[in-house]
Symmetry: C2
Subunit: 202 residues, 2 copies
């Protein structure tokens, strides 16, 4: 599996500090899963990870820093999975299977951390230029070029990614009550239509 | 052509007041086209429409009220065009032609008023529940049901609409320098793929 590159601001994080950071982020992720973003305070994370409050502040500065680090951690994890993890998300499976698996992975990860992703949405003029979004778009475009080499894969990748927008998932799943299974089937159907292929047998 | 319903807050606007309001909005739209959103001040609109500044304040309250009224005016105009205007955008053309024309109309209108649309983007949890967005989605879904009745047209309409997001148009056209003709061709291609039809001859 591909190693996730260290954050640029922490190029030489020592192994124990890195473990410590990972433990804090895992504790914060658990808190979000159980109580939503509102449940994440510096104190609660310290208590859940069984470290002193000062350690959490030294590591992340403040609560916003912690939330950003959490999202960044999750983005890197997803990136490691689609660049170097096991197939069908990672290399080794046909491009069409990888594209299907990618959307499903993004859908369920987004649903798990919707509050966090909505709280962290950049302003409109920066929404599509965010590096994590750029990495996802590039990945989709690379796969599309193998499936439909004659298409404008750059534009199609934007459209596919736009259908996985956390604000849209929030609207469909939470505001309109669509079950995640329907969104998953919708993604699979969309990929089939966009690539002009047959949908996989159910 | 279908009459645009009066704003709910102004059910009985007298004819001369309505004309006055339209004149102010036209003046504001001209200012935006020439100088961008930053060029729209209450004073500039009053001068351009040759009325007193007090009239503009009485009508719209403040600059934000004016910008919102302008966007609402433009939404209603588009809505009137696709519900009751001439084909292919309005009724009378085949559904597929209307769907193509709809996206092209939205693309160019958005490009004309990008600054205004970006300034008025609601927060993430309300982005897809805005009434104007709902009306557009419904229109796309109604057309799709005539073209691909067996598909999940509700989900597909969301995807098609997401590809016309003003923030995305801003990113593609302004930040990445894609010409509008490419975005237009991309929409036509996307409609063909999603409906599993052939693209129209160029």
């Amino acid at each position: 599996m591909l190693q996730v590159a260290p954050s640029p601001e922490e190029p030489c994080l020592r192994a124990d500090a890195a473990r410590n950071r990972a433990r804090l982020l895992e504790a914060a992720a658990r808190l979000i899963a159980e109580h939503g973003v509102a449940g994440v305070t510096m104190e609660a994370v310290a208590a859940a990870a069984q470290v002193g409050k000062g350690t959490v502040f030294r590591r992340f500065g403040d609560r916003t820093g912690l939330l950003m680090a959490l999202l960044d951690h999750s983005d890197r994890q997803l990136q490691a999975d689609f660049l170097g993890g096991p197939p069908p998300l990672g290399p080794g499976a046909p491009a069409l299977d990888r594209l299907r698996a990618f959307g499903v992975a993004v859908l369920y990860r987004s649903a798990e951390q919707l509050d966090l992703q909505l709280a962290a949405q950049p302003e409109p003029t920066r929404r599509f230029s965010h590096p994590a979004i750029g990495a996802r778009r590039t990945h989709i475009a690379v796969l599309l070029r193998q499936i439909v080499p004659d298409a404008d894969c750059d534009l199609l990748s934007q459209t596919l990614l736009a259908s996985l927008d956390p604000a849209l998932i929030h609207h469909q799943h939470r505001q309109r009550g669509m079950p995640m299974e329907r969104l998953e089937a919708g993604w699979t159907d969309l990929v089939a239509r966009v690539t002009r292929t047959e949908p996989p047998p159910r």
